[in-house]
């Protein structure tokens, strides 16, 4: 299974993670089973509006099942929830450190895995 992590920079697994979901510079997509990964520029970064929506869409299209970033706006949250993507918030660190924290279930969960969208959000 794959997880996506928002990054400030592209220095492989030593990259500093970003806590901006929609407009971070890069996304790392990490395959937990075989430990391969890709880092790509975040296509939502230059969106006029709805960057969170576009980033969430991209993460779904990458077939990631979880994302680790900062706070989520309500629209990004809705898209991830509809796609049954789990979302976690990190407290800083490198991609490597965050992957470790994820495996050890130490990250704060913003959106449970495999849960339907909450009612009451737009």
């Amino acid at each position: 299974m794959k997880i996506a992590i928002s990054l400030d920079e592209n220095k492989g697994l030593d990259s500093q993670a970003s806590n901006i979901f929609g407009r971070c510079n890069y996304y790392l997509v990490f395959n937990v089973e075989d430990e391969t990964f890709t880092i790509e520029e975040n296509p939502a970064k230059s969106a006029s509006g709805g960057a969170g929506i576009q980033a969430a869409q991209w993460i779904i299209n990458q077939e990631a099942e979880a994302v680790v970033s900062g706070n989520l706006g309500p629209k990004a949250y809705d898209v991830l929830a509809a796609g049954k993507i789990a979302a976690y918030r990190h407290n800083g660190g490198t991609a490597q450190e965050i992957i470790k924290a994820y495996k050890e279930e130490k990250l704060e969960c913003l959106l449970e895995p495999n849960v339907d969208a909450h009612s009451g959000l737009n």
């Binding site: 407009r23 509006g49 706070n71």
Partner: protein, 294 residues
Amino acid sequence: MKEVLIISGKGGTGKTTVSAALADLASKSHALVLVDADVDAANLELLLEPTHEETFPFRSAHVAVIDQDLCIQCGICEEVCRFDAVRRDENDTFRIDPSYCEGCLACLHACPSDAIQKMQHQNGEWYRSKTTYGTLFHANLYPGEENSGKLVSQIKTDAREFAEAKDVHFLLIDGPPGIGCPVTAACTGADLAVIVTEPTMTGFHDMRRVKAVAEHFRIPTQLVINKCDLNLSVQQEMLKYAAEEKMHVAGMIPYDEAIMHAQAEGKPVTQSLREPYFDLFQDLWLAIEKAIYE
């Protein structure tokens, strides 16, 4: 990261005056990064004496352009355009008027001969400057241009990144007037919205509208009544409203020419005001500090 946004609904209530004063007071105990999110008419720099460091071009707008060599003059673009941007002249030459074009690209998708392209243009610029109170991110959208919501997002994002890189945890944002896209863009991520209003019918009316926008984003609000003694009856109504809405009144600043003159000096008013006005601003800052660090 704590983000405090100053908004007003109505223009001219004193948003920028309050923002500059808060920047002065807050910077004494916190490292700050400042943002002037009023990209249509950026005024905060007039009070902070910034030293310009870098300018960045802003290109967000794109418009559709018809390649006349490929155009078969079918007129589908004109049919499809909902913004009256397609012009046909007496020779049946079709052109897109960029000042009406919204960049939706409906025409581009509909054109049967691929004769329409997307073209970007520079519609503003933004800056990073140094000030005594913290680094300032500000911008200018060129007059007549659209997309000021995007430019607001741009400078906020950069301000946040810069703050994080410098280990600064406080962002102070002088917001734009109104309730439209620039205010929406300024609201995202704010921890607190300080609404600066004035006791006038118009100020009250607009304060309620902008509060509704902040609530849409689930941002807590506090109220500052500027020029508070201008109209005691409207002031009372505002206080009553604030009590009903459980909105904390962080400060009440009287209408006094001393404050206007202090502003004309091109510095935060707290630099030249003495008691009792200085204390009013100081108390206002302390109320805000308490609200965000509780």
